[in-house]
């Protein structure tokens, strides 16, 4: 969450999702870690609106998985941001969460061990995001929303948050809606009131990655057995395999939102003109173009389809990278220690 105050760091991503119901969110999470490993983004905060401790545990083991390459002093100094989780009862059992959390090795030990054992090991989403935003440079944070807008609506209702968002956040990219029109999309439908509040009150630019984008860009299930196979155990691959009977390709509107938020200028997508998105009572979205509108939606450029899918698999399956310790002096001392060990 903290960052030494030197050069402007890469964009800080606040990722708010509903891990558990669709694999797309887990893949977007993997992409976020992949982008962080490439130093293209930083994880500012992860909030989960699905009130299931297992969702937090899953996000935690994914974080630990990507931290696993870091050892020694850097590991000792590593400080993982807590996971934000809404309180409440889980809506339904989630095979994509259960499978990796229940996986054991040949000795019966858990393959992945989460540090989250109770609700106390998680944070209130609003407080977590508020604190994370205070540590971002102005206009250097972006929100990626891939679940219902519940948490973001709460943010807008919290004292001082609207102003803080306006100051720090340059973009909200939400996987939501269907454009230019179509059936009600699940994220909007899950909390229509919250979606309306966020669409009406978000104090900055908002880009929607509609369901149609995800449907037109199915994440190739074959990639799980090919691109993720470098690791004998990968929590996201395990989640994917458990989510639905394999093989299957998964709609990717959450991944599209993540990709656009981190690489908005690389022409993966075309953008609609400015306008305003509104939501009907049954959760259907409609878009009205207007010169002063603050909303846009992503439009698929067929010429970019293969490039997007390649980027999806490359970033989501990226290997963990070694992180440096906070103080260069520590690194040097550690290197010397390692040298001594080798000499012995």
């Amino acid at each position: 969450m903290q960052f030494p105050g030197k050069a402007k760091p890469p964009v800080g991503i606040v990722f708010d999702c509903a891990l558990g119901s669709k694999i797309d969110d887990a893949l977007a999470l993997a992409m976020l870690h992949g982008f962080e490993g490439k130093n293209e983004a930083r994880i500012a905060a992860i909030g989960i609106s699905n009130p299931d401790l297992k969702a937090a545990q899953f996000a935690d083991i994914v974080g630990l998985f990507y931290a696993s390459a870091t050892t020694g002093v850097a590991r000792a100094f590593m400080h993982l941001t807590p996971i934000g989780l809404d309180e409440g009862k889980p809506r339904a059992a989630s095979p994509m969460l259960n499978a990796p959390l229940a996986r054991t090795d040949a000795n019966g030990k858990p393959t992945y061990t989460s540090t989250v054992t109770s609700i106390h090991d998680t944070a209130d989403v609003t407080t977590l995001i508020r604190n994370a935003l205070t540590a971002q440079d102005d206009q250097n944070a972006a929100f990626v929303l891939t679940g219902p807008a519940t948490d973001l609506a709460k943010l807008l209702d919290t004292y001082g948050l609207r102003e803080l968002i306006a100051q720090k956040v340059k973009l909200l990219c939400m996987a939501a809606g269907t454009f230019p029109d179509g059936p009600a999309e699940p994220n909007i439908k899950a909390d229509v009131a919250a979606a309306r509040k966020v669409l009406a009150g978000w104090p900055g630019p908002l880009v929607a990655a509609g369901y149609e984008i995800g449907a037109a860009l199915p994440f190739p299930g074959a990639s799980i057995e090919k691109d993720f196979a470098w690791s004998a155990a990968h929590p996201v691959a395990d989640a994917y395999s458990a989510c639905r009977p394999m093989p299957y390709d998964a709609p990717s509107w959450a991944m599209a939102a993540m990709l656009y938020a981190v690489r908005p200028k690389e022409n993966y997508f075309k953008l609609s003109g400015p306008g305003t998105i509104t939501v009907s009572d049954d959760g259907r979205t409609s878009f009205a173009e207007s010169e002063n509108g603050r909303h846009r939606y992503l439009i698929l450029d067929p010429a970019q389809k293969e490039r997007i899918l390649r980027t999806y698999t490359e970033i989501a399956s990226a290997k963990p990278v070694v992180r440096k310790p906070p103080h260069p002096a520590d690194e040097k001392k550690e290197e010397k220690k390692e040298e001594k060990k080798e000499e012995v």
């Binding site: 105050g5 030197k6 100094f77 807590p82 944070a123 209130d124 609003t126 407080t127 540590a135």
Partner: protein, 427 residues
């Protein structure tokens, strides 16, 4: 001279409803974080066996509340780079991220001062700011943070900290003397004619004793004895200081021995609370970033360098010993507070004494899961004897909001609070 709370002060007819002693609050701040493995029990709920650092408080576990996961986001870097020690002490009671500067300091009004402004009208001193080390108010004490940030806890305005009184003698004179601190010259002159303060008031106390019942007489006697004892300790400390190498700069009247200094200060805090001289005290034991050695317990290394232990067991052990040593002194004070009766309760029962630090892990400079314990029941309000673990990132300012409420000061928010901390009370 002020008097303790006596039963005779309560008119017989009103005894049942008006006998409630006032609620007081104090903050005891220790620097450079704590070895959290030795602080956090591995359980929640009713307190049983306490971890090593807290062991001295085991006899008083029914009187303390351990709070887990409280966080001071304002103490974090938030784009300001190094300087966690400066920030964590400046933000501890203000809840504000201080401006990184050596000159035009800026933090916020600390919550103890907000309380003091409201309840201070009832007492001679709205608040007392005490410490034991280094009251420099200028210079660079941490990576570009002014010493004003590390060496003060209480802030009466955004730009005006309240420096702590370090000298027990100055404190004594402030509490029981002329209401002002004498210069060393004036003090020396006065010493020529010096008698115990008690000698001056002996006629008055004799007259008063005649009108008191046996309980009050005993209480008054204990009270006067404790003042006499403080006088003796100060005399002793001054004598000891005279034997210290004269080339060393030692403030006049400050004991060389840490434990003795701590005891003197807390003895006077006890009397100040007991006699309702004040209801708000902040006590900066030593300041953030201090490199004070602890030769008293055979640790000649500086405290701060030790806390950057890089997970080396021998260094962690030394820091643990320092942490335990501090808690031992604190426990002795708690014992004293608990021994003093106030009506049907004890002085401790009617206090909220927060012992804590602005960093948890001093090695990594973490500002979350801050070591925080509250001793006393705040006047039969706090359900003590428990460990409560809150969710991560729960603002420390939520505790302050709850304490403000208990002190009769109602505010909607303070610092980065998100609401009053729940679960403290007996309800």
């Amino acid at each position: 001279m002020a008097l303790p709370f006596l039963e005779a002060m309560v008119p017989a007819m009103a005894a049942t409803r008006a006998a409630k002693p006032p609620v007081r609050m104090a903050f005891v701040y220790v620097p450079n974080g704590i070895i959290m493995n030795g602080w956090n029990p591995d359980y929640e709920g009713k307190l049983g066996a306490l971890p090593r650092i807290l062991k001295p408080l085991e006899p008083f576990r029914e009187d303390i509340l351990l709070l887990g996961n409280l966080t001071h986001n304002a103490g974090r870097a938030l784009l300001d780079g190094a300087g966690d020690h400066g920030r964590c002490s400046a933000s501890y009671l203000t809840g504000v991220h201080p401006r990184k500067t050596l000159v035009d300091i800026q933090a916020g009004v600390s919550f103890d001062q907000i309380v003091a402004k409201q309840v201070g009208a009832h007492t001679r001193f709205p608040s007392l700011e005490l410490g034991m080390e280094d009251a420099r108010q200028a210079g660079d004490c941490d990576s570009g943070y002014s010493c004003a940030y590390t060496n003060n806890l209480a802030w009466e305005s955004e730009t005006q900290p309240l420096p702590p009184v370090l000298d027990p003698r100055a404190l004594f004179e402030r509490l029981f003397g002329k209401g002002q601190t004498l210069t060393p010259e004036a003090r020396a002159r006065e010493n020529l004619y010096r008698r115990s303060i008690l000698d001056f008031v002996s006629d008055d106390t004799r007259k008063l004793e005649a009108d008191l019942g046996p309980t009050d007489r005993r209480k008054l006697d204990e009270y006067l004895s404790s003042i006499r004892e403080i006088e003796r300790q100060i005399e002793r400390a001054e004598k000891d200081n005279a034997q210290i190498d004269p080339h060393m700069e030692k403030p006049y009247g400050v004991p060389a021995d840490f434990a003795e200094h701590f005891k003197l200060m807390t003895d006077m805090m006890t009397v100040a609370f007991q006699s309702d001289l004040t209801r708000v005290i902040t006590f900066l034991v030593t300041h953030e970033g201090t490199s004070r050695p602890y030769r008293e317990i055979d640790i000649p290394d500086g405290h701060h360098p030790l806390t950057h232990h890089r997970n080396q067991p021998d260094l962690i052990e030394k820091v643990t010993q320092i942490n335990s040593y501090h808690v031992r002194q604190f426990a002795a004070w708690i014992a004293k507070m608990k021994s003093i009766k106030e009506g049907d309760s004890t002085l401790l029962d009617n206090c909220m004494i927060v012992y804590g630090a602005g960093l948890s892990d001093g090695n990594r400079h973490l500002h979350e899961d801050l070591p925080t314990l509250v001793a006393g029941r705040g006047g039969n309000y706090i359900n003590s004897g428990r460990r409560i673990v809150y969710r991560r990132e729960t603002p420390m300012c939520n505790l302050f909001l709850a304490m403000m409420d208990r002190m009769g000061v109602h505010a909607e928010r303070f610092g980065d609070s998100t609401g009053s901390l729940d679960g403290l009370d007996l309800a």
